[in-house]
Amino acid sequence: MLEQLTPILASKKALVGLGIVLFWVLAASIGPFLVPHDPLHQNPDAINSGPSAKHWLGTDDVGRDLLARIIYGARRTLILAPLSVLIALMIGATLGLVGGYFGGTVDELVMRLLDAFMAIPTVLLYLIIISSLGASALNVVLAVAIGGVPGIARLVRGLTLDIRTREYVSAAKLRGEGALYIMFLEILPNARGPIMVDAMLRVGYAVFAIGTLGYLGLGLPPPLPDWGNMVQRAHAFIFSNAWGVLWPALAISSFVVGLNLFVDGWQQINRRYRG
């Protein structure tokens, strides 16, 4: 494990990215105990106010403290985004492995199924899923997951097509290993590098996606805060109180940038070490 951490420590970019991500993780876990205000408490005297001594980041259109909402929102986002990527990974990797390993008709079927999903514009896909399943945290996660499945499946399929030509896969066949064993225990562990890198990036996309869903009003039901619906509500008041939009937007971007920096730096170091 330690050996795998050294690349991270060697890259400044990766460290910065990791720092940002860890900051938010910390904020989400400890923040709620430190923040003085209740994110749901509406204060009619302080509507749409900017940063002040009492409300460090200001308040939203019904007087709720923005700082508290950001921190509680962080919790939702940081749990739901990775969860949706995890689900997408499980489904996508399986589809990709099956298609890549068996080839032929099976591969065609899987690919065309994915093509069908990819042909539908993402937002429309979300609309269809949420409107039929209803708006809840779980359904949001499912919608974002399904949106991510085709991309992951393609990646894994490509990797599988390459790895299955390796001699250790032939050696496994010569032990009479079944297809499941070969796919998940011989091929998948050797594809984990690119898959993990892709997954990290997808967490960023998932944050945006959840935010978008929130923005469209399809996201997590109110009054619980999440960064996306914060932007949606505050957007109407953007000319009088830009802070309401700014803080959640900054939160989303910084988290995504942090993830990307981390992944980028890590990849760079890995490549240099190999060469």
Binding site: S170, L174, G176
Partner: protein, 709 residues
């Protein structure tokens, strides 16, 4: 091939390198790839640089042409080209010089040619850029050069793209490109390694011819001693970034002085030697990593002659006798003990007779495996229209007795790998029969019984991809042990230790990952893994081709020992005729999916020969100075297996073709001995009268004759 440098001692050598040192900067520190290399090459002379992987030979070549990459730097010494110092020259000037007076021929021709440009354009570009020639002139020159490299149909070839040429033709095109500017210096970095033996022979002949005609100074890099013996006038042996011996080619092979040179020659099977009469002596230990070089002499830890001074003081390169330089403290004391091959004392082989009397456990009759070609036409895509097949294996009859080794040899496209895969079940047999013990091997491995699967195992070619990089070695050896239920999971650890010992690896290897092992060690683990199920038959698909020669010897010895202990029958596939002869009891020679000749190993290597076998044997470059080799050249390239020639497959290239019968009828199986079969139309009596390809002679006479050419 005389040493022209000594003929013209006052002429400035074309290339003179003194104490060259090259270092690569990496994240993990600086790696001194080249420590101290000095040599000079005169006009018309060929210097062979020989060494194993990691010795720095390619670095030297790249260093000369300033192609070391971003992190490589020349940290010491001087490179003089025709008296001019190249180090410190401004990049632009250097590039000009490199383009016009120094040329390089690389190992992989497909990678060195631009796939998007026509061959003609690439050739003409050389002249247009450097000599500012007009297009027409450039074209004429190029065609004439292609003719000089014996390229068939030069005008046609000018219009083709690289992928439309075969490997041998691509390499000729590259050589033509390299010589267009009449360079004073030609650097060849293993140019024939990727080519088939028969093609290699013709390309080596070409190098000979051209270096004489154009008087180019050539630096020829190779790991193959035989090739070096053929092309070089003088030889430099490289070890751990230093030259350890530099001598005329005759001295290197007749009287090698440095222990490493001796060891290299001792561990390579010479064409004609067999396991009954000879012992390969691998070099113990590993090549030292450039970051952790030993104190004193770099070779001392592996040297049989090492004494105290060797571990303390680093020896310098010094003159021994006229023309020879050696880097060894005790060079004078070392008498040439080169070709002292010990007898079977080391190997304890069971006598040949018991092997011959064993029962036949493996047999094929008319085995055919075809690969379906992807549909080319619209009709084909819909499943209609004619199907085209690559006839990789087209009717093969073989037999192997228990405890014996059948060697299968042939060039690319002959079907040997397909045969291996069909036997093992990775490909499906289309027609014919393969019998093994009581089993019928017509199904693919997915449909076979577990019992059968454990009886046949395989050792693969590429040590880097034969082990799963994500799991420890112990787990990978343990898996076949537990999978077939022969060992309980609690006893697996013991079983793994036992297997590691059997392949002469320490128990600690069980906890290592494949990336921590060297190529030879990985291949041993692969052997251990294959033997875990105690198979009755082991199929080895070119198991030593990717390994250095010193490691090759160790793995071959290991396989021989294991066969002796376990009486496993082996199928040994290789393209190296010397290795196959050494290792096998019987040999099958294949060409384009069919057999040419099958029989006991000593019968194959002596007349009567199939013409193809004869061509193969005379093409193999052999470094044995006491062996005279006939010069029969098989011209042309291997035809496509999609549309193999009618009648005898070999007739398009056969130097002994007798006429129309060869084009029309398939050759019959002619029995030249009780197990020796030749598939040829030429009457057996005529074949018996052919002179042997290899004859023992007095070595001095051979070199004297060569220098007179």
């Amino acid at each position: 091939m005389n040493s022209k440098l000594t003929d013209r001692p006052n002429e400035t050598p074309v290339l003179e390198i003194q104490h060259l040192a090259i270092t690569y900067e990496t994240l993990k520190g600086n790696i001194p790839a080249v420590q101290d290399v000095s040599f000079a090459i005169g006009r018309g002379e060929t210097l062979g640089i020989v060494g194993e992987s990691g010795c720095g030979k390619s670095s030297v070549a790249f260093g000369i042409v300033d192609f070391l990459g971003r992190n490589g730097k020349i940290t010491g010494g001087s490179i003089r080209f025709k008296g001019q110092e190249l180090r410190g020259m401004p990049a632009r000037e250097l590039r000009q010089l490199c383009g016009s007076q120094i040329s390089m021929v690389y190992q992989d021709p497909m990678q060195a040619l631009n796939p998007a440009l026509r061959v003609g354009d690439q050739l003409m570009e050389v002249l247009i850029d450097h000599q500012e020639a007009a297009k027409e002139e450039a074209r004429e020159e190029s065609v004439s050069m292609l003719r000089q490299v014996h390229m068939p149909d030069p005008e046609q070839v000018m219009e083709r793209f690289p992928h439309q040429l075969s490997g041998g033709q691509q390499q000729r095109a590259l050589i033509a490109m390299a010589l267009l500017n009449r360079p004073a210096l030609l650097i060849a970095d293993e140019p024939t390694t990727a080519l088939d033996v028969t093609v290699e022979a013709t390309v080596l002949d070409l190098f000979d011819e051209l270096s004489q005609e154009f008087e180019t100074a050539t630096m020829y890099i190779s790991h193959d001693m035989g090739v070096i013996a053929r092309v070089a006038d003088r030889v430099g042996v490289l070890y751990a970034g230093e030259i350890v011996e530099l001598a005329p080619v005759r001295d290197i092979f007749l009287n090698p002085v440095h222990p490493y040179t001796q060891a290299l020659i001792r561990c390579v099977p010479q064409l004609g030697e067999s396991k009954e009469t000879c012992c390969l002596q691998p070099i113990r230990g590993r090549v030292p990593s450039p970051k952790a070089l030993p104190e004193g002499c770099f070779f001392a830890p592996r040297c049989d002659y090492a004494r105290n001074a060797c571990q303390r003081d680093h020896p310098l390169l010094r003159t021994i006798n006229r023309g020879s330089l050696v880097r060894c403290h005790y060079a004078e004391d070392i008498v040439g003990g080169v070709c002292q091959r010990t007898r079977e004392a080391d190997l304890n082989l069971s006598p040949q007779e018991t092997r011959e009397d064993a029962e036949v456990i493996f047999q094929t009759r008319g085995a055919k495996t075809y690969y379906e070609q992807e549909a080319q036409s619209l009709l084909g895509m819909l499943g209609l229209g004619e199907k085209n097949y690559v006839k990789a294996l087209d009717g093969v009859d073989l037999e192997v007795k228990k405890g014996n080794t059948l060697g299968i040899v042939g060039e690319s496209g002959c079907g040997k790998s397909t045969l291996a895969k069909t036997i093992v079940g990775l490909e499906s047999l289309r027609e014919g029969q393969i019998k093994f013990l009581d089993y019928d091997l017509s199904e693919t491995v997915e449909d076979r019984d577990l019992e059968l699967i454990r009886e046949i195992q395989m050792v693969f070619q590429n040590p880097d991809s034969t082990l799963n990089p994500s799991y420890k070695v112990g787990r990978q050896i343990g898996r076949p042990l537990t999978r077939f239920g022969s060992v309980k999971p609690s006893e697996a650890e013991q079983g793994v230790k036992r297997l590691l010992h059997a392949v002469r690896l320490d128990e600690s290897y069980a906890n290592r990952y494949p990336r921590q092992l060297s190529g030879g060690e990985k291949q041993r683990v692969a052997v251990a893994r294959a033997l875990a199920t105690r198979p009755s038959m082991l199929v080895c698909d070119e198991p030593v081709s990717s390994l250095d020669v010193s490691v090759q010897a160790a793995v071959l010895n290991l396989l021989l020992d294991l066969q002796e202990e376990t009486q496993t029958t082996m199928l040994f596939i290789a393209h190296d005729l010397s290795v196959v002869r050494y290792f096998s009891d019987s040999v099958a020679v294949m060409y384009l999916g069919k057999l040419c000749e099958v029989g006991p190993a000593d019968a194959i290597y002596a007349p009567p020969y199939h013409p193809y076998t004869e061509g193969l044997l005379s093409a193999v470059p052999t470094p044995n100075p006491s062996l005279e080799q006939k010069r029969i050249r098989v011209t042309g390239e291997v035809p496509s297996a999609l549309n193999p020639p009618q009648g005898c497959r070999f007739h398009t290239r056969c130097p002994r073709k007798i006429g129309a019968i060869c084009e029309e009828q398939e050759p019959p199986a002619v029995h030249a001995g009780n197990t020796h079969t030749i598939y040829c139309h030429i009457p057996l009596q005529e074949l018996r009268e052919v002179e042997p390809v290899l004859t023992q002679i007095d070595a001095d006479r051979k070199f004297a004759a060569d220098t007179q050419d």
